[in-house]
Assembly symmetry: C2
Homo-oligomer: 399 residues x 2
Amino acid sequence: MPIAEGIQNALASASMIRKMFEEGNRLKKQHGADNVFDFSLGNPDVDPPPDFYRILLQFAGENKKGVHGYMSNAGFTDVREAIAKKVSREHQVAADASHIVMSVGAAGGLNTVLKTVCNPGDEVIVSRPYFMEYRYYAANHGAKLVEADSLPGFDLDIGAIEAALSPKTAAVLINSPNNPTGKVYPATTIAALADALRRHGGKTGRPPCLVSDEPYREIAYGIEVPPLLCAYDEAIVVSSYSKSLSLPGERIGYIALSPEISCKDALMDGLIFATRTLGYVNAPALMQRIVAELTEARIDVSVYARRRDAFTAILDEAEIEYAAPEGAFYLFCKIPERKIKNEAESNDLAFVNHLKQHLILGVPGSGFGKPGWLRFAYCVDEKIIRASAAAFSKAMESW
Amino acid sequence: MPIAEGIQNALASASMIRKMFEEGNRLKKQHGADNVFDFSLGNPDVDPPPDFYRILLQFAGENKKGVHGYMSNAGFTDVREAIAKKVSREHQVAADASHIVMSVGAAGGLNTVLKTVCNPGDEVIVSRPYFMEYRYYAANHGAKLVEADSLPGFDLDIGAIEAALSPKTAAVLINSPNNPTGKVYPATTIAALADALRRHGGKTGRPPCLVSDEPYREIAYGIEVPPLLCAYDEAIVVSSYSKSLSLPGERIGYIALSPEISCKDALMDGLIFATRTLGYVNAPALMQRIVAELTEARIDVSVYARRRDAFTAILDEAEIEYAAPEGAFYLFCKIPERKIKNEAESNDLAFVNHLKQHLILGVPGSGFGKPGWLRFAYCVDEKIIRASAAAFSKAMESW
């Protein structure tokens, strides 16, 4: 029984990264987990906040009728109201429950939105580098990802996005704080993007939907992530509690619409239909009720800030250039120029492989549409980060 | 900003059923919820078993590191092992963790399987009547549903399925105990179906995948639901805890492969890739751990058995013909012949509307591909079922 051709092809092209993960596991078995500096995965290791455990225990002790049963596909109404209040504060709008759909994490929310707004053959614009899963999410619904370059320092290049817009553009998908760069787009950038999209809408009669993937909004270092929904009428935010409450395995997130969005009722009907028929049916019931109680709670961001500082000090010492992260927990680094000449390997993979020989694991930038760079995730224990300094220094000596 | 055409069309055709639900809500507001006999929704109202609450409370009190974090997309290995033991018992095979993928309910599992086995343009055969969501699940992945009629009494018509097989058949999708008929397919039927699929595979070189949607396996009345995975090598079971533990809002289920399935490793890679990229990422972490502890627990099925008996007594009295349900919690009824002549309305909808005037709500059979019938769900309080007797009798007087 053969598997679908689309999946066979995707698996073949993904095998490079999978091989690296397998290699990482092999290295850990061989050298001991503590001696391998695995910065490859974005799996938050910080504990959920104490309030999460308190509410979980409280709800577990109440056997209320029907709380584990079906509700409206959009989620419990009181939960949607609580999320709407949080969204209204963060985005300077007056959203209510009718603008919120609870989702199976941000990944479920993004698939739901793309299914609802994309006709087959439509285009979704992303800024390079971008989270690699977007490619598959768009393909699920017959849409095509169109890549626009970013500016040096990884702010959005509005000119490049404008050049990529076409009558087939259904959505522009942005991610701030950004994975893999840690960039937070300033309010001026968001305003300029909104202007460009409005101009395009005026010309073509099809204003693109601005989809903002924001699971890292609450993980920013001394910088305010500017509001988005107030900046553009046709805007949709997708977020989750995977990072802000460290609950990625529980698959709980939401979709929030700008209260000014056009065709709001049809769009909500579409999002609810897509939530149902894509097989999510609804966001997990218990976690919905828990996050509604925790709209002010979050993990201790200072832990990530300390790790970031420890990691950048090591990179400075090793003379590896990086984009200073303003949020999230990734460092996107430029592959340093090779001083010791070698056969003509692809620069990107050659450096990743070279680091691996020194038991340091990262993800090549080509996985994010940006060869010549690599990503380190610093959601790992600070001790491991500090212990990697010697390995980095040794690796650079022989590069 | 328009929504996708495919969704617009689906919403337009689904509006009949949605209108009925809205009408039901309006009736409840007008007459009081207790005076409306709402048999339209399959939302289990029986409480989860006491063991569920015990384990939930136990796990809520343990703040173990990482239990709410990401795990392999297929699920926690120890959870998959526990499910494999249950599947091995139920299906008379020797499955292990490598044959199990934890899923976001059965709906998530079915989408994952169909994405993995269907090329765009492929066909998925179903037996009429069938759960209406299958149509959308197949369409999500570019596949087309092909309907085969069932036998009187709603057993599978193997001849009709054989006639529907083609070189484009990727899968045959069955559901036992069945929604909407309550039919449990006997072992002889499963064996005959397996023979037919093997013959077709021998002729075309493409043995279809037999996908068995089994969320009601544990809700059967004095009848054993026969094992499936041992009957056919290319078989996949999809199930959930939505009915057996009354947890439909928590979205927890699994996919189980026949240990004899061909291309097992590629298939598992494909299922894991589809789980990840369809945006489920993984089944909710806490519920995974809970159901692994509850492989022997289930809700009290005798509650449903008593309701079924109460409901069939009312239908007998009203002289409405039905298929005697062997499992699940639905009664599929033949629209009675009209004694009082009326304008030429569609029989199916006319009777549903007539019942509605007597505050009885059901779903027209056309929603399951079977006009001339209607479905009542008896996952509602026995008091409401008993109280509906007078309304049924009055409705029949004026039909």
